[in-house]
């Protein structure tokens, strides 16, 4: 399996194919549409991360030392970003997550989606992913 850094590089390379912002977003939408929906039952308050404009749900499961994430959003662009985050983080060990540095969103020029004052749920989702890692890490030790 590729490292978190390698996956980020892959993503950057894929996006570098698109010069135009419309095309980058078209690709994000495509990614968003390909995200496997989470079940209605899982779309509960506990898994909900509330943003100002859109909602994000995040489900985590641990199997054999690795955390598997699934997620969704009511906005397709946010869903595309969720897809990217899942690709980077799902299936990692808590240690890998805790020692990672996420830079690809900045590098893609999508920083505004992470701005704390935009609060569209993505930043909270990243925090939540780390919290899961911390929690599972503690459970292990």
């Amino acid at each position: 399996m590729k490292t978190i850094e390698e996956v980020q590089q892959d993503i950057l390379e894929e996006f570098s194919l698109y010069e135009d912002w419309m095309d980058k977003y078209a690709y994000l939408i495509e990614l968003g549409n390909s995200v496997e929906p989470i079940s209605a039952v899982e779309k509960n308050d506990q898994n909900l991360i509330k943003g100002c404009q859109s909602r994000v749900w995040l489900v985590a499961e641990k199997k054999e030392g690795h955390i598997y994430f699934r997620g969704e959003s009511d906005a397709v662009i946010v869903k595309g970003l969720v897809a990217l985050l899942l690709r980077v983080f799902s299936g990692r060990t808590p240690g890998e997550i805790l020692h990672s540095q996420v830079h690809f969103i900045d590098d893609l020029g999508l920083t505004q989606h992470l701005s704390p004052t935009r609060s569209n749920g993505l930043l909270a989702m990243m925090k939540q992913i780390r919290l899961y890692a911390v929690a599972y890490d503690r459970l292990d030790n």
Binding site: Y25, I29, Q53, R55, V76
Partner: protein, 406 residues
Amino acid sequence: MEYDVNKIRSYFPVLKQQVYGKPLVYFDNAASTQKPVQVLLKTGRLYTEFYGNIHRAAHYMADKTTDAFESVRDQVQQFIGAGSREEIIFTKGTTESANLVAASFGEQFISPGSEIIVSEMEHHSNMVPWQLNALKRGAKIVKLPMSRNGELQTSLLSELITSKTRLLAVTHVSNVLGTINPLAQIIDAAHRKNVPVFVDGAQAVQHIPVNVKALDADFYAFSAHKMYGPNGVGVLYGKRKWLEQMPPYQGGGEMISEVTFEKTTFSEIPFKFEAGTPNITGVIALGPAIALLQETGMEHIAAWEHQLLDYCTHQLKELEGLVIYGEASQKSGVISFNIDGIHPFDLGTMLDKTGIAVRTGHHCADPLMSYFNIPGTVRVSFGIYNTTEEIDRFIEALKRVVKMLK
């Protein structure tokens, strides 16, 4: 008179900017308008020619600045047809104007059991101040409900206004629906039972002619940054009879007459309500913004923007699955809509990539969103510099992004 939109556009250099390589179409005017060079030039004069703190000084720079500042008070008075200059208070915005009245009028006139009527279409800024105040004083907020088409159910007023009602808070123009409320009628109904009316004019003064005396409004508030003026400046008009009875809101410099450790006496209106150094350069730079509105003519502006509204509404209605919220008979240049199966955030984000700035979200009007049971809308709102060509580009872009998102 012809409406010379090109001349107006020439005052706003920012309109020539490109975003993401596309020419900017700015349709987020209800959030904040762009600012003309006239306002910048006036600001520049205060940075290069004369500037000083106002009112109390005895030197040339301060005198000149004081004159410039106070002359804008006269200009505002005349612009909204107030009875006297002392009834014009400078605040930092509509929100502060509402908070000032809620706190100060509240302290004097609202007590446990009092009722404050607030309409269902209010911006949070004309809702939360009353809520906070009601909570503090044991008063109750009573809702003036809305109808499906975005009009207030004014016929209910005679029932809603009781002997306990102390104030009615209502917007002149809705920032989400565009509805122009029948203010004269609402105020008349309230006055018949001796209830004063606080009007949120944040979406009105820049779009339609406003005369507070003709309306007989007790309070009328608006923000400079939504009327092509500077940021950090708001106006509160209040009838002298209320302002004189109300205690000061904030304490500090400017608003006092004498201070000892034991007792403080306050200045007359308007200074009683202007504690601290005001936004001197901001207030002075509001002057040319008002001048631009007046030279263009509020009647002409209203007509031009109404034309844009009709033109855009007509084209939007052709689109499949598009729902417009707010179809009041009297509307200003604001259109809120959604498209079946598409999240407003996605629409707004994609439109942005085509150079078109619209707003998405709840527009600080949660109760209104609850009414329609939606998470938000896409909102386009027009200003004096917008054109039908821009609407064409918007519609075209909208069709394109809808195709991508569906």
